[in-house]
Symmetry: C2
Subunit: 239 residues, 2 copies
DNA sequence: GACATTAGTCGCTGAATGCGACTAATTACG
DNA sequence: CGTAATTAGTCGCATTCAGCGACTAATGTC
């Protein structure tokens, strides 16, 4: 991608201060969490911000996002998706004119790994409903990332990237409930799941304290005779 | 992280050659069309490219997209939506390292206006299935724009922006069919439309040559008791 | 051993979808 | 004229699908 700073005709578009910012999302316990880093600019109004950095010379913006996640978290992202570019006048902590936001889906292990670190670490996980103040552009990115999640939830296997490789259907349902923001009916959820051919059972069972043990499943999508059929719920009540 | 090779705090992110590019979409006759401009760089491999320009100093990226449309077409966009940022290694005609693609929904009048202009004009409309070669990044943007259209078609009033203020239901169905890329069943389409409370009839009728005259409708969405209900079709056959 | 707790399934009801077949109103053509 | 062709618009059936309560199953707690 060319920095043809040589002589002739055109030397490419105007140069703009551009940042890549990452909304890392995890669902460890019973709530959604995101990863923030300490403000690097001591004059910054807010004390926390999204992991962010400019893209380097020969780096793709998606590669940059992956690197930024690795720098802020011990665990790499299970999946990276672009959210949008933000080029309005909302303030960015590093003063970027334009920023590209990425959504990083993180396995629950990423949060547990961070818990072990010292509490004075450079980055920490926060519950989404209880975030510290962040710069306006970062707030817009977080909101935009959650909207994107809800919009794509029934098209892409987002929930599975927030779970360990093997999980119970109750765990899966809980993640879906966190993402769509309401309770789902158990029987309907499982029926929709079966129709979508997304999971297959393992022969393991987990007994988690009280109650009947649950069967473990793994993510195993099957393209069944071209019937791409997402997991759709319209208005499931409480279950 | 960051090239902090300088001395004091931080002086904002690295500057990157950034362009704003627009996929203008229209549905004048029985096919989808997009607007291309003549390649501005005489050494360019391709002779046509998407309307494109860097964002100016105090301009929002969306404002820049609106300006770019106005520069390439006499008619302004009926609606602008961001598609995505493209920052991979695919070639951009102006050598931009990162580009933000916008989708511009254009009324049919935009194409008729352009037909009147001289054939040697700086921009021209091309049928989507029969585009001249464009740079790889522009091709990716066009494909991405069409994917975005299909993904958002049942959430947002995209089809209406491609129609004149008043239209027949057959016209509306044709636009939907062009956008989703398959035929729809007439009765099911109208039923879904009615359930979504998106149109209201006018008292005008249009007789278009042979056949029974059709009633004209206008776009008039109603938030009916909180039932946000898009126009959903799963597998409508031919009608 | 009764009870609480969690997992998993069944089956009914009402709503939504796929689709063919119908009526309606106009032009084309002999 | 009158009949066919053409486009608009509606009806109603058969099937599928979503919402939901109620049930059984397997474990731990007291």
């Amino acid at each position: 991608m060319s920095d043809r700073n040589a002589a002739p005709p055109r030397q490419g578009p105007r140069r703009v201060a551009l940042s890549i910012d990452v909304v890392a999302l995890a669902a460890p316990g019973h709530r959604l969490m995101t990863l923030l880093t300490r403000a690097r600019d001591p004059r910054s109004k807010e004390r926390w911000e999204l992991p962010s950095d400019p893209a380097r010379g020969e780096e793709t913006i998606e590669e940059a996002a992956a690197r930024i996640v690795r720098a802020a978290s011990a665990t790499p992202a299970a999946q990276l998706e672009q959210v949008a570019a933000f080029g309005d006048r909302r303030r960015h902590p590093a003063g970027a004119e334009v920023s590209v936001a990425f959504l990083a889906l993180m396995p629950p292990a990423a949060v547990q790994a961070a818990q072990g670190a010292a509490s004075g670490a450079e980055s920490a996980w926060f519950a989404l409903e209880d975030l510290p103040p962040v710069a306006p552009r970062h707030r817009a990115m977080i909101d935009g990332a959650m909207s994107a999640v809800r919009a794509r939830l029934d098209q892409e296997p987002i929930a599975f990237r927030l779970l360990p490789p093997t999980f119970t259907l109750s765990q899966l349902q809980e993640v879906y409930e966190l993402l769509v923001g309401r309770r789902l009916h158990k029987a309907s959820f499982r029926r929709a799941l079966q129709a979508a051919w997304l999971v297959e059972p393992t022969d393991e069972w987990r007994s988690e304290g009280r109650g009947r043990p649950a069967q473990l499943f793994r993510f195993a999508p099957r393209r069944r005779r071209g019937n791409r059929r997402g997991v759709r719920f319209d208005g499931l009540g409480n279950g």
